[in-house]
C-alpha cells in the first residue's frame, strides 16, 4: 500500500550524535524526510511518551535524515533518550518553507532553531554571500558552528556566535548583533528561527529597514494539517499556513511575539 503521509511511519534510530550535554541528533533512514524543504517539519511519535512537531535535520549521508532535540520537558527528554536501535513514528512533512533568495543572506538561529537554518544552507548558491548568526546562553550550548562552516566552504561567508554570558564568541543577545548587522549591511534576505522573542526582534530589525525577512514559528501542535486549531496565531495556523511567515504578514499579526496558546487553548504571554 502507498505510504499515507498523515499516518505514523516507523523508523529506527541508526546513530546518535551528542551535540552538547543537552542536545542530541538522532539519525534515521527514510525515503521522504531527507528531501524536505527548509522550514518543513514532521510529527514525531515517541511511543508511550508523546508526539512532537520537529524540524527535519539534514544528514551528511544520502537517504538519511535526523531530528535534533534539546532535552527540556518529559516529551523532548523522551526523544533525547531514544537509543540506537530505538523506534519512533514520523508523519509529514508538513508546512511551507523558506523562500530561497540570492545575494547577501543573513541566517539567524537560536538553539534547535538552527535546524531549519542548516537545511537552508544546503539550498544556497556558491555566489551567495552568507552570514550565519548563532545565539546561545553559554559556550556549553553552542552547536552546529563547524557544520555551518563546512556547508558554506564554497561561499563567501562568516559564522558568528553570540553567548548571553560572553563565555564564547560575542557577549550579548543575538538580537543585538542582528540589529548591528542590518544597520551596517543591506541584506537581500534575513531568515530566523528560535525563541519567539528573538524572532520578533529580528523581524522588527529587518522589516523596519525594508529588508525581506522570514521567520519559522513554533506553536503547540496536535494534527499538523490545520484541523485541530491548537497552533493558531491570530487568523493563521502555524502548521498549515506556516511555519514560515513573511515579515510583512507577521507585522500585521497581533499575537506574534506576544501571545501563544496553552494546552487548553488559552492565550498566554511570552516571557520577555
Amino acid at each position: 500500500m502507498q505510504r499515507n503521509l498523515n499516518h505514523p511511519t516507523i523508523v529506527t534510530i541508526e546513530k546518535v550524535i551528542d551535540e552538547t550535554p543537552t542536545v542530541r541528533t538522532l539519525i534515521f533512514s527514510d525515503d521522504i524526510m531527507p528531501n524536505v524543504l527548509p522550514g518543513q517539519f514532521a510529527m514525531v511519535w515517541i511511543p508511550g511518551v508523546n508526539e512532537l512537531p520537529m524540524s527535519v535535520m539534514i544528514s551528511k549521508e544520502s537517504g538519511k535524515a535526523a531530528f535534533t532535540v534539546r532535552k527540556h520537558g518529559p516529551s523532548s527528554t523522551g526523544l533525547f533518550n531514544i537509543p540506537v536501535g530505538g523506534q519512533i513514528g514520523i508523519r509529514g512533512p508538513y508546512g511551507n518553507s523558506f523562500d530561497v533568495k540570492n545575494g547577501k543572506l543573513l541566517l539567524v538561529g537560536g538553539g534547535t532553531g538552527l535546524v531549519p537554518m542548516m537545511r537552508l544552507l544546503t539550498f544556497v548558491k556558491p555566489s551567495d554571500d552568507v552570514t550565519v548568526l548563532m545565539g546561545a546562553k553559554s559556550k556549553d550550548e553552542v552547536f552546529f558552528e563547524d557544520l555551518a562552516n563546512d556547508l558554506l566552504q564554497h561561499n563567501s561567508h562568516r559564522v558568528l556566535v553570540s553567548t548571553d554570558d560572553g563565555s564564547y564568541g560575542e557577549k550579548g543577545f543575538v538580537t543585538d548583533l542582528v540589529e548591528k548587522l542590518v544597520n551596517e549591511t543591506h541584506y537581500d534576505a534575513v531568515y530566523v528561527c528560535g525563541p519567539e522573542v528573538m524572532m520578533y526582534k529580528t523581524v522588527q530589525s529587518a522589516h523596519s529597514r525594508n529588508i525581506f525577512v522570514q521567520a519559522s514559528l513554533e506553536r503547540m501542535m496536535k494534527c499538523g494539517v490545520g484541523i485541530c486549531g491548537s497552533c493558531c496565531v491570530g487568523e493563521d495556523l502555524a502548521c498549515r499556513d506556516g511555519t514560515v511567515f513573511d515579515g510583512d504578514h507577521l507585522s500585521t499579526n497581533k499575537e506574534f511575539g506576544h501571545l501563544h496558546r496553552n494546552k487548553a487553548g488559552i492565550l498566554e504571554n511570552y516571557q520577555v
Partner: protein
C-alpha cells in the same frame, strides 16, 4: 434566476448550508472570521466545558491507512467563560456554541456565560466517543438527555441542537428523547468510536488508545442515520460525517438534511473546501432546476 443556497434549520437561518463541525479549528475569533469569509455558513465552536480542559497527550490525531482520520483530542478547550469573553466582539459570524457536560447544571452555567454574545444556536455534544462521563455516556442515558435538554430549553431562547452519535444504545432513542424534551434540531452524527494499533511498536497509536473515526469512511453511516431520523421524525437535521464534496452535501440533503457540517475535509483540502462545495451545490441546483435547498430535502425518500 440563480438558485439560493440559503437554508433554515428550524428557526436557524443561514446564508450558506455548509458549516464547520465542532472540534475543528474552533478556537479563535480571527479564525472564525477567516472561515466565514471562506464560505462557511456557520462555525461550530469546540465543545466547551465549565472549566478549561487540556485534553489528552499526543498522538491525538492522525490519518488511518485507507482513508479517514482518527482522533482523541480529549475535548481540550479554554472553558466556556474564557471562550465567551473571546467571542464577545463578534458581530458578523454565525457562531454555534458547542457545549459538553455531565449534568444539567453544567449546561445551565455555561449558557449564562454567553448572555452578552451573539450566538446563532447552542449545540449539545451528546456524542463525543472518547471522554468519560460526557458525550456518548450522556447520550446513552435517556434520563440525563431529558433533564439536560429540558434545562437548557428553559434557560435560553436561542435555538438548541442535539448532536447525536453511535453509542451503546440505539441512537434513535436519544433523538426521540431530545425531541420529546423540546430540542430544535439534530446534528447526526459524531465520530465513530475506533482505534488503530501500530504493528511495529505493537501498541495503540492514540495516547488515549480509543478515539473517534471521521472522514470519508463514515459518510455512508452518517447518511443512513440522517435518512432514518428524517423518515421517523419531523425535526430539522444537520448532516455530519465524511462530507468532502458537493455530491456528498447533496446526498445528505436528499436524505433529509437542511444543512451539513464538515471537518476532516479541511485536513485534506484546506479552507477552500467551503466555497468549492457551495459552488458545486449551486451548479447542481441549476442543472436539476431547484431554486432552494428545501426543495431537495428528503427527496430520496419518495422513491
Amino acid at each position: 434566476m440563480e438558485p439560493s443556497i440559503a437554508t433554515s434549520i428550524g428557526q436557524i437561518q443561514l446564508d450558506k448550508p455548509v458549516m464547520l463541525a465542532s472540534g475543528i479549528l474552533g478556537i479563535s475569533l480571527d479564525v472564525f472570521n477567516r472561515l466565514y469569509a471562506s464560505g462557511a455558513g456557520a462555525v461550530v465552536t469546540k465543545s466547551l466545558s465549565t472549566a478549561p480542559w487540556e485534553g489528552y497527550p499526543n498522538p491525538t490525531i492522525f490519518s488511518v491507512k485507507g482513508g479517514g482520520w482518527i482522533n482523541a483530542v480529549g475535548l481540550s478547550n479554554p472553558g466556556a467563560s474564557n471562550f465567551a469573553k473571546m467571542i464577545e466582539p463578534n458581530q458578523d459570524v454565525p457562531i454555534v456554541v458547542s457545549l459538553v457536560g455531565s449534568v444539567p447544571e453544567d449546561f445551565e452555567i455555561m449558557i449564562k456565560e454567553f448572555e452578552n454574545c451573539k450566538v446563532k444556536a447552542f449545540e449539545l455534544n451528546l456524542s463525543c466517543p472518547h471522554v468519560a462521563k460526557v458525550g456518548l455516556e450522556v447520550g446513552d442515558d435517556p434520563g440525563l438527555v431529558k433533564a439536560i435538554v429540558s434545562t437548557v430549553k428553559s434557560t435560553t431562547n436561542v435555538p438548541v441542537i442535539a448532536k447525536v452519535g453511535l453509542g451503546t444504545s440505539n441512537y434513535l432513542n436519544t433523538v426521540n428523547t431530545a425531541i420529546d424534551s423540546g430540542i430544535d434540531a439534530i446534528t447526526a452524527i459524531n465520530t465513530v468510536r475506533a482505534m488503530a494499533i501500530d504493528v511495529e511498536i505493537q501498541r495503540p497509536i492514540l495516547s488515549n488508545k480509543f478515539g473517534g473515526l471521521s472522514g470519508t469512511p463514515i459518510k455512508p453511516i452518517a447518511l443512513r442515520c440522517v435518512y432514518e431520523i428524517s423518515s421517523q421524525y419531523d425535526i430539522p437535521i444537520i448532516g455530519c460525517g465524511g462530507i468532502s464534496s458537493w455530491e456528498d452535501a447533496i446526498e445528505f440533503f436528499l436524505a433529509g438534511a437542511s444543512a451539513v457540517q464538515l471537518g476532516s475535509a479541511i485536513g485534506d483540502n484546506w479552507v477552500g473546501v467551503f466555497d468549492e462545495i457551495n459552488k458545486g451545490i449551486i451548479q447542481y441546483m441549476e442543472r436539476k432546476g431547484f431554486s432552494t435547498i428545501k426543495e431537495m430535502a428528503g427527496l430520496a425518500k419518495k422513491s
